[in-house]
Structure formats: structure tokens, C-alpha cells
Subunit: 296 residues, 2 copies
Amino acid sequence: MEVTIRQLEYLVALAETENFGRAAEQCFVTQPALSAQIAQLEKTLGIDLIERGRKATLTPAGEAAVARARDILEDLRRLRDETGTFLSPLAGRIRLGALPTVAPYLLPQAMPALRQAYPRLQLELREAPARELAAALQSGSLDLVLTVLGEDLGAVEEWRILEDPFLLLAPAGHPLLGRRSLAQADLVGHPLLLLEDGHGLNPQVLEACALRAGPTASDFRASSLGTLVGMVASGLGVTLLPELAAEAEVRSDSGLKLARFETPEPKRELGLAWRRGAIRSRDFRLLGQALKKSLE
Amino acid sequence: MEVTIRQLEYLVALAETENFGRAAEQCFVTQPALSAQIAQLEKTLGIDLIERGRKATLTPAGEAAVARARDILEDLRRLRDETGTFLSPLAGRIRLGALPTVAPYLLPQAMPALRQAYPRLQLELREAPARELAAALQSGSLDLVLTVLGEDLGAVEEWRILEDPFLLLAPAGHPLLGRRSLAQADLVGHPLLLLEDGHGLNPQVLEACALRAGPTASDFRASSLGTLVGMVASGLGVTLLPELAAEAEVRSDSGLKLARFETPEPKRELGLAWRRGAIRSRDFRLLGQALKKSLE
DNA sequence: TAAAAATACTCCATAGGTATTTTAT
DNA sequence: ATAAAATACCTATGGAGTATTTTTA
């Protein structure tokens, strides 16, 4: 006999539920039907996949089979998604990864318009730092990433969405705010607050200011932009915020002030990236256009 | 209806043959049977995959579907291979990549013993430079690579097979051969022949000799170790050969001589590498042992 | 001794085969 | 005109259901 997709679906369900009955229920079939298919699969492979007992657990061979089965089912979903887009644009599932310093400020505004324009689009969102996004994109566990462009993302196509300048955030009355114009060099000597290590934003901030880490970087580290703003508010120092985030994070009654830098402004470039040659690149460009439009 | 593996097999066969009848033949079914399954697949996906005519060609959606189908069928083969190894070690297919400067000198000797010990093993061999091997390993199009260890191969496990020292190859009577002992520094000033750019062996050779490219490297480049030896024979210069290759490439009547370097010898370290956590790592270690043993 | 999985048996959906017609070049 | 694919129709395999027994913790 041959291995069937159905058998693989049953196997994955069984791996998830550890119980033939519940797995069957999850697959909308009866327990004997599922049992028979699993038995059939074991027979074709010539090895036991399931350790029968009070709980149904996987044998080592079962673990291996389930891993492959998941890949196969995932690829099958992608087959449906990809062929579907030739029917109507932006139909089906797109797994989008985005930076935690971007997603919450860009996507919520854009979603209503997107749902309206492309009702058959299903966006699966995952937030992760830039390195993880790039890796997930290459490994195929993400279809599309919303991230900082111009870094090494591997073999990708990029689509610019916006330039996001860094603004100075300081408590009202801070000496840096008084100047007629603000240059990046003016920051020297002022304690600069950063995010926790590992955030891609830090090197961007430091590089944007042509500063190297160390002397002026403060020892306090924040775990999100929200707490970073809080730290500035408590007088621990100043920081740079992407304009995109600044609008949302800095409340007008917080006693904090934002200031633009004189040109050339420090900035980051945000956009979409996908694997070079991806079948759905047209879809991805459409999505990029929609995102860009939602910012106007 | 649901997409079935059989439909995907038929689709791939059709993509390969561009002809329903021959595709059917290739799948050991009749033409109407294959036609029906393709029609069924198109119906479930809701889109035409095939452009019917004198030749059966793929529509854009068909291209996409075939690409995914190939992935799925490949994963299915891997499922069989991987679960099979829990039955008997080293059963099934292993896709092995190897350096062109290693494969022909190591594998032919080892194959007979391997076939004897593991008759159910099917080795698929692919020769490629180190960078390609590393990429193919990570992308999953190879299971195992035989390459120079100690370079950046990504998230892999490594298994040492042998240290392969570089020997000096020079025409008999060459001044470098007269010395009592030969040090790497002695090469300075002698034209050193290298392989074509892109070969991983060049930087290894240059680094091994603590020489940087340029002054002493000759302008002539060889495309294989065989022609490299020929170039030395025609008096264009000297070169370094891995000992593994030297035995096979340098004929005793060629008028060429090999000389060992004094310790510390320049050398390369050869071994197997596979993706970290690969299910068949036990198999790969067994294969490594067998290769090592075949060298004794 | 219960809960869980396997077995026994029936039914029907469907893949595949043969024979034939339709379609494209 | 002719090769190639679709259609019509039949057969049989096998997957799913119900009812029941067997297993095991």
C-alpha cells in the first residue's frame, strides 16, 4: 500500500491528542476509522509509530514520521494558498513576520482597510527580532517579513514602505531640547537609554548616531519601547524613538518632549521582504502597497 | 474533495513528460486514469493547472503546484528513509554531497565495503564546492556532506574522518626537493600553482602556508587537480596537493616528486557534517566509521 | 473494572480499466 | 487526418460506519 495524506493527518492529530478517540473526533471520523489508517500506515512503513497504552505516545520512528508529516501538510497548505492566488489576488493564508518595534504601530491601522479590500486574505502574524525573521523566512516558516531593510536578509526581494526617522525623546526642559537645531553629535556625553541586548534597534540607534556603544550608552536596559519611554520619564536619560512608535508611545501629559534631528536625520528604512522568486511576490507587492497607503 | 499524493505524483509526471499518455505510462496506469486524477486535482484547487494542446504545458498555477508537489514527494521519500533507519541501520537513501577534491579519492575505495556491510543503503552522490555543499545541507537538498571541517557550516554536527596533509609537488630536481627538511616559509619566491577561483582548496593552501595571495601565486589556474599536476609537470611551477589526492594523481613515471613538510605540516581536516539534530545522525556516524575504516 | 483500542462486518465512494468519442493541429 | 485527451460505463478496492470484543493500566 501507499502512504496517504489522510494517514499523515490522522498521525499528526494522534501526536497532538495522544488519544485515538480524540484524534478521530478532531478529524471528524470514528475511532475505528482512524485506528485502521494508523495501522495501515505502520504496516506500509513496516514499523510501529505508536506506543499503545493508556496514552498513545510516539515511538522514535513515530517522532520522525510526525515531523515529516507536518512538513508535508504544511507544504500542502502552501500549494493551496499559492495556486489560489492565481484565481484572485491576496486570497489564502500569508504568514507574516514583523519586528516588535514595528508591528504594533503599523498593522493595527492597516488591518481594517486590508480586510475590506481583500476579504479572503488570512494574515498569520508573528513578532520576532530581525535575525529570527530572516531565518524563518529562509527556512520557509514565514512567507513574508516586515522588517528593517538594507541588512543582510539572504536571497530576498525587498519592497520599501517607509523611512522612519529617529526622534530624540527627553524630559521637558532637558538641555538638548533648547537648541535651535539638533545634530547627532550633540548627544555625546548624555546617557543614552537602549533596549535589552539582542534587539536589532540598538545597533541601528547607535549607528544612526555615529556613536559606538560604551561610554554614552547607559547601563539600564529596557525590554520594550514602552518601558524605555518610562525610563526616560523617570529621568534616567534620553533615548531615540522611531517616529512610528513615538506617536503611539509618548502621551502628551507625560512631561516628555520629542525633537527632530537636523538633516541628515538618523533613520531606519522599513519594508517587506520575501524569498527571491517566491510565487506570490505579486501578492506581497500588493500587500506592501496596501500597507503604504494605510499610512497616508 | 481532497488533494491526494497520487494526484501530485501524476501531476509531476505530467510536468516531466508534457504528455498525458506518457505520464500515465510512467505511473503504470492508463491515460484516462491519469486524466481523471488531474481533472480532479484542478477541480479541488478550482483552477486549471494544465494547458491542453499538442503538448501538455503548465499554467502559472500549475508551475506553482508542481513545485510544491515536488517538495511534498521529496518529504515523503525522507519520511520513508528516516523511519526505515529505525528498523535497520543505514537502510534507505542518503543524499551525500562531497568536495570534488575529496570524493574521487575517498569514496571509490570505500564503496565495496559499504555495499557489503549495508546492502540496503542507497547513496546519492553530488560533487560541489564547499559553499554549495553547506547551502544544500541547510536547505535540506542534501542529508550529509563530506567536506573540510572547521569552516562555517551553520548549525551542524561534525564527524572527523582524517587529517589530510598538503604535500609539495615539484618536478624532479627542483631546488625545493634537495633540502633535508622542508618548511612552509621555503616556498616564498617560488611560483605556486592554484586551482581556478572559487575552489575552496585555494584559500586552504594559501593559509596553510601562511602565505597571502598575490606575489608568489602564479597567474595560471587549473580547473582540476589532474590538470594542476600536469601544469607542474610542464614546469610552470610547484603546487601543494592533499596527500589523499597525491597518491592517485601523481604517476611514478611522471618525473614529479612529492615532499612532506616538516612539522607543523600544513593540512586540511576532512569529515562528515549533517544538520544539527538530524534524525539519522546515528546512521551518519556509522557511515563515518565505515569511511574511516576503509582508509586503514 | 473501566477506558481505550482492535476486530467483524456492511456499505458505498472512487480509482482504475476498456471501449469509444471528441478535440485540436 | 491523426494523435491526444475526454467521456461513458463497468469493476473492485478500500475507507468509513455500527456493533462488538479484546486489551491494559
